[in-house]
Amino acid sequence: MTKPLLSVRGLTLDIPLARGTLHAVRGIDFDLYRGETLCIVGESGSGKSLTSLAVMGLLDKNIQRRAERMDFDGTELTRASNRQMRALRGDRIAMIFQEPMTSLNPAYTIGDQLIEALRLHRSVSRDTARARAVELLEKVGISAAASRLGQYPHQLSGGLRQRVVIAMALMCEPELIIADEPTTALDVTIQAQILRLLVDLTKEMDVAMILITHDLGVVARVADKVGVMYAGELVETGPAAEVFGKPMHPYTRGLLRCIPQPGMTERGGELGTIPGIVPSLIGAVQGCAFRTRCPHATEACGGEIPVRGEQSHRFLCVYADGARSVEGEPA
């Protein structure tokens, strides 16, 4: 097998707070290959955004990042200088943020911002950059692209802005796109369009993508590989078909039972629930963070949790089968 484009091992993020240290991300591992789409899914506050910012090197100064390895195509990100990181950002790794309403600078035209994205990394003339911008705007499905260049972000609707943001991310033909909840703020119909656009473009341009979301539906439709995040840990990772087809971690299964699925859940019937709330990650965290909400928690869950499953589909649980058998499912 080829080398992964991005390989992360033991990424840990600590945030010192007045009340103690917040262990926001606790030792996560994942590999991402060229052209592959990894979806990270998890509840609010589980550390998804921090993980993506950690890869970009855009964490707030007060957040402490540690990792055994964060290798991007041969560059060790943990040791990269600011200068090296800046050269990577926007050029080889691009990012798309959640809020299309606020992720474009209101003071400049979208043309300026698109052109800047290219000219920061390539010494090309403005005209060349402009031509590239028009080309990409057309590619992301914006009509009359040339005339849009002179418009300001506030003159565009949310869906259009998110397309511009995507175009901006593609200006330098990056190898990796990190999209942090790119469609959460959008209407369902627009969400479908944007996702389709992203999927098509990444496939077409052979770009790897990390897509962060809390919507299992999105994950299922977009991901090659899925990472389920809970309280700062990737509790289950694996190919999408496997994770959805045979979810191993009790949390993953709990999540899947919570959502009403047309045609599958009974209309008006009772939905599955995960009682309780996410535990505080301030101070020392021991054992499985999900045990406070897990129906199968035992004494052992407070201790060291082994990594289960094979290389491609792994999960963290004291139960070898992720307690599937306890729930009456065939293991």
Binding site: E43, S44, G141, I142, S157, G158, G159, L160, R163, D187, V188, T189, I190, Q191, A192, Q193, L195, R196, V199, H214, D215, L216, G217, V218, V219, A220, R221, V222, A223, A240, A241, F244, G245, G254, L255, L256, R257, C258, I259, P260, Q261, P262, G263, M264, T265, R267, G268, E270, L271, G272, T273, I274, P275, I277
Partner: protein
């Protein structure tokens, strides 16, 4: 079906919005000639994209906004004539944002008992009892009484909001996206709770949501709104099985079920979102409709009946040149 508890007759709401800081105010038809009726015990799901007027409709029902024209009838009586207090006893809201729907300076006891105090129901003791009972009903222990909203999680807050809505035993509850700010694991708890309460008290819900999967799960009837108009209305089964309006169809298409074998669907909708201040001519939906013809640009479709409701589309109007009786998805 029994006599409707809640009826809307040609309700419209026009805002005058300023364009920019000093522009001339222009009319914005947030709700445009909407007629609906809710039977007792029904759950009417109201779906549509952001800004189509769902919340405005909810506010009108709650008496928070005066409709510009048209009538709202509760049990056959126009609510314009009833006083607000009487209306408030029968219709109560649950809002979207559990972080802003509870006054942060008040304790949970204060918040939940507010309706009782406003309506002058009972004495302090009976109120306290009633608050405790209602909290229990929504699954909150009595010890939350003296805590503040900031000490609670989103799901707990939403339960408080439900308790507040239910303490006066209203007939109708207007739920404006009650779960869209919650994580899925909490959303399912709230949905279950709403379902239980409905069964127990025979409540009638107007349930507003973006999420069609949720609407399908909860609603008995669904109305689809587009730019202030109800473009299609039908029983939940009919609508999901046989959507008539192209917009409904696109909405259903965009529902992403967690099925990895299906890719991202093509909604076939254009990306141009219309400006509500100057809506497109004719059928408001025509610029995004894959089936639009010249007629759609010039003539607004009229509502035509369909099973369990109506639909507004030239394709389904027998008097229209575009009529295609066989048109389904």
């Amino acid at each position: 079906m029994s006599a409707p508890v809640l009826e809307l007759k040609n309700v419209a709401k026009t805002y005058r919005v300023k364009q920019g800081m000093f522009g001339k105010p222009k009319p914005l038809n947030a709700v445009n000639d909407v007629s609906l009726s809710l039977g007792r015990g029904e759950v009417l799901g109201l779906v549509g994209e952001s800004g189509c007027g769902k919340s405005t409709l909810a506010k009108i029902l709650l008496g928070l906004e005066e409709p510009t024209s048209g009538q709202v009838l509760v049990d056959g009586e126009a609510i314009g004539g009833q006083d607000r207090l009487a209306l408030a006893r029968r219709i109560q809201p649950i809002f979207q944002d559990p972080y802003s729907s509870l006054n942060p300076r008040k304790t949970i006891a204060d918040i939940v008992s507010l309706p009782l105090r406003v309506h002058g129901v009972g004495d302090a003791k009976s109120r306290a009892k009633s608050v405790r009972e209602t909290l229990e009903l929504v699954g909150l222990p009595a010890r939350v009484l003296n805590t503040y909203p900031s000490q609670m999680s989103g799901g707990q807050r939403q339960r408080v909001a439900i308790a507040r809505a239910l303490i006066m035993h209203p007939e109708i509850v207007i739920c404006d996206e009650p779960t869209s700010a919650l994580d899925v694991s909490v959303q399912s708890q709230i949905l279950n709770l709403l379902n239980e309460l409905r069964a127990e008290f025979g409540l009638t819900y107007l349930f507003i949501s973006h999420d069609l999967a949720v609407v399908e799960h909860l609603a008995t009837r669904v109305a689809v709104m587009y730019l202030g108009r109800i473009v299609e209305e039908a029983d939940v089964g009919d609508l999901f099985d046989a959507p008539r309006h192209p917009y409904t169809r696109a909405l259903l298409n965009s529902v992403l079920t967690p099925d990895p074998s299906l890719g991202v669907p093509d909604t076939q909708l254009g990306s141009a979102y219309p400006n509500p201040i100057s809506p497109p001519s004719g059928c408001h939906f025509h610029p995004r409709c894959p089936f639009a013809e010249t007629l759609c640009k010039t003539k607004a479709p009229r509502p035509v009946p369909r099973a369990g409701g109506h639909v507004e589309c030239h394709l389904h109007d027998p008097d229209s040149t575009m009529y295609r009786p066989d048109f389904t998805v």
